[in-house]
């Protein structure tokens, strides 16, 4: 599998969050790397799980978020970097076992 970039994850995440914002009637102008989805009330703890599940479905991977700092977990930039490097690492390991 080709490696994925942080931008790819972020684009997916932004689309996903804009959809939630629309459903919840929360007005959002732009979503940049510093955007904290928790702070603006887009997600609660159940919402966070749904974000992770959506990312897992999209990138066909089971994510382990243990080593991402709690403060950064809900921030778009760090979350997408973490997911991108996690997915790439998993794919690399899968390749190495062949």
């Amino acid at each position: 599998m080709a490696s994925i970039s942080q931008v790819e994850v972020k684009d997916f995440l932004v689309d996903y969050l804009l959809k939630i914002a629309q459903e919840k009637s929360i007005e959002i102008k732009t979503i940049d790397d510093d955007f904290d989805m928790f702070a603006v009330g887009l997600i609660d703890s159940l919402g966070m799980l749904e974000v992770i599940t959506a990312l897992e479905d999209k990138f066909s991977v089971e994510l382990d978020m243990a080593s991402l700092d709690a403060e950064l977990l809900t921030v778009v930039g760090p979350l997408s970097s973490y997911v991108a490097s996690y997915v790439n690492k998993q794919n690399q390991e899968a390749k190495n076992t062949y």
């Binding site: 009637s25 928790f38 609660d44 703890s45 992770i52 978020m65 243990a66 709690a70 403060e71 809900t74």
Partner: protein, 530 residues
């Protein structure tokens, strides 16, 4: 002699004398010793004493997030001799207004952050209020806008102007008034008496061997009665209450470790989220010596994983509706024995506390034979006073079954004695109530609100997705050919608390009916599966 005059506040007062310099509370990065917290609480109590105009309820409300003012406010109200009524700024304003109105109380303590929502709250209230805002020095702008209300700020609160004296209330006075979901569209106020909470504390504090060295978690909002356990079990013995922020609760691993928690108490959902985030790995929380779960069914797999993650911890699944005061049954996890006692993958709810009694009955309130499923009824010292100003609902739920001489509370929960171990297992609800993130939700209440706002009669709320012992959220079916859902959605979201707000709406021209000619809920739920 001491027993006679013991109240909910007594434990904190004793600890504040014995452990004056120990830390009582850590919240929002602030640490307060018992002495400091008592001083804050007493200053609030002194304002209450000086300015109370006597509305006859014996209650004062708190409109606050989990902040220093919120905790000092609860204590101050109790020191003054009132019961406390927690509101919740995270809930919609209309919900708060409804709770405040039905409590009838006219004093509200407001914290610095909730002040931002105060204008909106006051706009929907007619009654004259006394608003105590300890976090503000200047309330002149508010006073100018709201001339009918009285505002008391930090300048009215003098330090050291008060000395604790035994409150004037009795064992039957209300300690707190909490609102739960009601099926007709309005929340019900559950009135819990001083003696109810005291019997809870008398049983639980020795059971869990709380000492002044403990550091106890605080995860529940004040509007959730399990927060009363957090506060008063901790303060009874001079331990430290460590409050997790909403953000800490999303991923609590760092908090548990850095705060050196020794006891943990949350809804099982939090543990389920932790597992999903990869922070429930073996050996992660060696400092925890006690872990309690309550509020919804506890899946066996989660308890098993928690046991590995917190290898030095006792784990208990505790059970109890607000009407029976915090919790009244407990089951202790045993890695050898428990898996064989679980049914439907859920940890049993166990046995009643020593001073409580359980019976299982059929629809005519006659006891069912041992081993048969039935509705759980409970009797004993923790049976609360009933629903505030609602004798009809109280009479329906607090009953004397045929052949009995005492009042039993009808929990509405279906349970059964397990074959092994004689413990009770939870099977489900008798009605359309369900648990979302540990909160009790009457589907009927959501339907009533949606019906009113949409002016559509055909409304069915379904708990979805189904998770063990509850649901992740609620989805709505509307019987309509075409309607602007977005308007309805916004209105409903402005009335219901976040966990009750429907996540999705589905339109259907015609609802399927069952053999009784009623809406076929099962068939509608099936539609969600596809």
């Amino acid at each position: 002699m001491e027993e006679v005059s013991r109240f909910l506040i007594s434990g904190f007062i004793n600890s504040s004398e014995r452990y004056t310099n120990n830390i009582a509370l850590e919240v929002e990065g602030i640490k307060l010793s018992y002495g400091q917290l008592r001083e804050k609480a007493e200053s609030i109590a002194s304002v209450l004493r000086l300015h109370e105009e006597g509305d006859g309820t014996g209650l004062s409300a708190i409109f606050a997030y989990r902040s220093v003012t919120a905790f000092a406010g609860v204590l101050g109200i109790l020191i003054h001799g009132h019961g406390y009524v927690p509101l919740n700024p995270a809930f919609p304003i209309e919900r708060n207004a409804l709770m405040l109105q039905s409590s009838g109380c006219s004093i509200v303590i407001v914290d610095g952050e909730a002040v931002n929502k105060l204008d909106r709250l006051l706009a929907v209230l007619e009654k004259r209020l006394i608003l105590i805002i300890p976090d503000l020095e200047d309330t002149s702008a508010l006073e100018a806008r709201w001339t009918q209300h009285r505002f008391l700020n930090a300048n009215h609160i003098k330090k050291g102007s008060f000395c604790y004296r035994k409150p004037s209330y009795t064992q039957n006075s209300i300690a707190y008034l909490l609102f739960t979901s009601g099926s007709t569209g309005t929340p019900k106020g559950v009135a819990v008496a001083q003696r109810n909470v005291i019997s809870y504390l008398d049983f639980v504090v020795p059971r869990y061997c709380i000492t002044e060295n403990d550091r106890c978690s605080q995860t529940f909002d004040m509007t959730f009665d399990l927060s009363a356990h957090d506060m008063f079990v901790t303060w009874e013995k001079g331990a430290c209450l460590c409050c997790l922020s909403q953000k800490d609760l999303i991923k609590p691993a760092g908090f548990i470790t850095n705060s050196k928690l020794t006891t943990w108490f949350s809804v099982p959902s939090t543990a389920i989220f932790m597992k999903k985030l990869g922070i429930l790995k073996p050996g992660m929380y060696p400092d925890l010596r006690l872990s309690l779960f309550c509020g919804e069914a506890l899946p066996m797999e989660i308890a098993k994983q928690w046991a590995q993650s917190a290898p030095n911890s006792i784990i208990e699944n505790i059970y109890g509706p607000t009407e029976l005061t915090i919790a009244c049954m407990a089951y202790r996890w045993d890695p050898e024995k428990t898996p064989s006692e679980c049914e439907q993958g859920l940890v049993p709810i166990g046995k009643p506390f020593d001073h409580m009694e359980a019976i299982l009955v059929d629809e005519n309130l006659h006891e069912v034979p041992l081993g048969e499923p039935g509705e759980l009824l409970m009797s004993g010292e923790q049976v609360s006073l009933g629903y505030w100003n609602d004798p009809e609902k109280t009479a329906a739920a607090f009953v004397i079954p045929p052949g009995k001489a005492k009042i039993y509370y009808r929990t509405g929960d279906r349970v059964r004695f397990s074959d092994i171990g004689k413990t009770l297992v939870y099977l489900g609800r008798m009605d359309n109530q369900l648990k979302i993130l540990g909160h009790r939700v009457e589907l009927g209440e959501i339907e009533a609100v949606v019906r009113k706002e949409s002016r559509i009669d055909g409304v069915v709320a379904i708990g979805w997705p189904i998770i063990p012992g509850g649901a992740g959220g609620v989805e709505i079916f509307l019987e309509s050919e075409g309607v602007d859902i977005s308007v309805i959605k916004n209105r409903v979201a402005s009335i219901l608390p976040h966990y009750m707000v429907p996540r999705k709406y589905h339109l259907l021209n015609k609802f399927p009916l069952n053999s009784n000619g009623k809406y076929d809920r099962k068939a509608l739920a099936k539609l969600l599966e596809t």
